[in-house]
Amino acid sequence: MSLPAKDSRSLLLEKLRRFSRPASPLSEPPPKNDTAQPGRAPQIAVREAVNEETISQLAQELKRLGAELRYVAGLENLSAAILQLGRESHYKRIAVGADPILKEANLATGLQNFQDFKLILSDRTPTPANQIREALSKCQLGITGCDAVIAETATMVLSHAGFGGRSISLLPECHVVVAYRAQVFISLDDWMNSQSFTRATLPSCTTFITGPSRTADIEKVLVTGVHGPLRLVLMLVQGGD
């Protein structure tokens, strides 16, 4: 490109340097809050045990957001739970991601046996990338796993590495997240403390999903279902520890 990229860069940086302080703070530890900052948990990856109270907080929070929670007794019951959801809502087209939990549940096979469903996608159908999104946009149900569930805010953390990528949790009408109970964290701090974030470890895209897509742009009336899914269901599977 014939733009003077270098020029505007050095001019701008020069200007900023004139008004910035030169010290090199990045290598130093954060200057703040290492001591007695109530807003901040210490940087030690101690995970508090998830108890019934946390789960009921998660349930409450999901309800407040207009999302749903379904308990699944064990991984072997997942296909049946999804089938039931599909039947209730007359969903016909379904896409299954390639997350380990879904593979472990043998979902692709499990669902193929039910004649009501047309399984649009799974990592077993070798579809060219450009057709995936067309197909996904026609799906009513997109099923994914997740990295973690955060009870305090009912947030699901997804890093879209697997099959179906970013689209599978975005394009279908209803997004089903499958998580083990043991993946539930109390708070965002709790989860962040258990991770280390570096450029090398961060995937190209991580999404925190908190409820179905929503807007209040017309007279502040809350409408769920704008560009993202209209409906969000968390299927919490017993176990996983």
């Binding site: 733009l3 190209s204 017309i218 704008v226 560009h227």
Partner: protein, 465 residues
């Protein structure tokens, strides 16, 4: 760019007279304020979080050059292309060039106030590239051929009936004023656009120096769409968006949604590290980041206005401002309205262009009290007023009156005498028991009647102790 001086008073007077606009504004701002208050009061450590956010932003802005360079090197390492633009037009030119290079004729945009600064839509249209706003509020505003009137709720000046009429007129659908139906209609139209667009343009909420991450926050999912479907993503950020560490996000995430919409967390927080990787099936193949100055370094230069760069664009100061609540965003004449707009517009566009804005405040301080990063907005407004006066931008008459006032206040004798004089003038000219009608002043407010005895007199006579 604004082409002439902003005429705040004129625009405000016009907007004040519009009954339905005032009703729309009142409804929207009181709704947001109530939700914010509820969300904030549920967080006992709120004040500590604000202080912490202020400290982080101070650190980032104090070492801005270094953090931006660090961000650049990390983002580049992750595969992004970073472009630095000194002016809005340089940035717009870069974006247009990328679109041309990619042969894109359709661009989907998530809400970005930075792109409004760049007047990007005009630039794109000029190059025969169709920009489509995908945030519902922005979509409405674009259909109506207007500009956003709020930084987080662009169409809050419109009622559902107005929007319904607009949709039936421009989109050929049957009239409906049901927000859900209108939203679904927009969803269907925009879904097609997302599928077809070659380029997605978004703003940036936070840029993390440590990891080169871009953080995008949206409720509707349009930010995700723009960074999932098109083959190229262009992210636009002002220089102030950088934060030092990834870990700092936890503080800002707690503050932003609560301040803005009263949510604990926005529906979608998207953290991007470079374009898609080889094994991925979606996401952009190219990710461009445009870092824009456009006058922000002016703010950096003055110790009095530097803090304005801490702003995370939550919109809370707009919602609580008694002036904004009544006159609406369009009165402020440029991209950023409300208290934060009154602070940054004079610096970004020149004080002579926007000299009226620092005066568009009651100085009640509510803005400073709600600001999640503790920007001392109302004192900045006061300082900007001072600089407007110092550079003789206020009217000659006003400056004389202030001089006279100052002289009187400094001399007790003159002060007493003027009080007596005022009372006598009132007795002669004002109707009994009523205050004086002072030219100009009384057009917008009452002059309180002066009592017979002054405080001084009462004090001396021992009636007050």
């Amino acid at each position: 760019m604004i082409t002439g001086p902003i005429k705040f008073k004129e625009a405000a007077r016009r907007n004040l007279a519009a009954q339905d606009l005032r009703e729309n504004l009142r409804r929207a701002t009181s709704h947001s304020t109530t939700l914010r208050l509820k969300a904030v009061s549920a967080v006992p450590e709120w004040e500590d979080l604000r202080s912490e956010a202020h400290a982080i932003k101070k650190e980032a802005i104090d070492h801005l050059a270094e953090y931006l360079e660090r961000f650049e090197s990390q983002a580049t390492e992750a595969g992004c292309k970073v472009y630095w633009a000194e002016t809005a037009s340089q940035a717009a030119e870069y974006v247009v060039n990328v679109c041309r290079q990619k042969g894109a004729s359709l661009v989907v945009k998530a809400k970005s106030m930075t792109s409004e600064e760049m007047e990007l839509n005009t630039a794109l249209e000029g190059a025969s590239i169709q920009p489509v706003e995908t945030d519902l509020g922005e979509f409405i505003v674009q259909l109506a051929g207007e500009t956003p009137s709020h930084i987080t709720a662009p169409a809050l000046h419109k009622s559902r009936t107005q929007i319904g009429k607009l949709f039936s007129e421009k989109l050929g659908m049957n009239f409906s004023d049901d927000p859900k139906e209108l939203t679904r209609a927009a969803r269907a139209i925009l879904r097609e656009k997302f599928m077809d667009a070659g380029i997605g343009i978004t703003g940036v909420n936070f840029a993390v120096a440590e990891t080169g991450s871009l953080v995008l926050i949206t409720n509707e999912g349009n930010g995700r769409m723009c960074t999932t479907l098109p083959r190229t993503h262009i992210a636009l950020m002002g220089i102030e968006k950088v934060i030092p560490r990834f870990d700092d996000l936890r503080v800002f995430l707690k503050l932003l949604a609560r301040s803005s919409t009263g949510q604990k967390l926005t529906s979608y927080v998207t953290i991007l590290n470079g374009p898609r990787e080889a094994r991925e099936t979606d996401g952009p193949e190219e990710l461009h980041v445009v870092i824009l100055d456009n006058g922000r370094s002016q703010l950096l230069a003055h110790p009095h206005t530097r803090e304005a760069l801490y702003c995370i664009r939550c919109g809370a100061c707009l919602n609580v401002c008694p002036v904004y609540q009544r006159v609406g965003g369009h009165s402020y004449g440029w991209v950023y309205p409300g208290p934060i707009g009154s602070v940054i517009t004079p610096e970004l566009q020149g004080i002579s262009q926007a000299q009226e804005l620092p005066f568009a405040s009651s100085l009640c301080g509510h803005c400073s009290a709600v600001c999640p990063v503790k920007i001392d907005l109302h004192h900045m407004l006061l300082w900007l007023r001072k600089s407007a006066v110092d550079s003789a931008l206020t009217s000659r008459g006003e400056r004389w009156i202030i001089k006279l006032f100052a002289a009187t206040m400094k001399r007790p004798g003159l002060y007493r005498w003027s009080g007596m004089l005022g009372w006598m003038v009132q007795r002669i000219l004002a109707p009994r028991g009523k205050g004086l009608r002072v030219p100009c002043w009384s057009a917008g407010r009452d002059f309180p009647p002066l009592p017979k005895k002054s405080f001084h007199q009462l004090w001396e006579e021992g009636e007050i102790n």
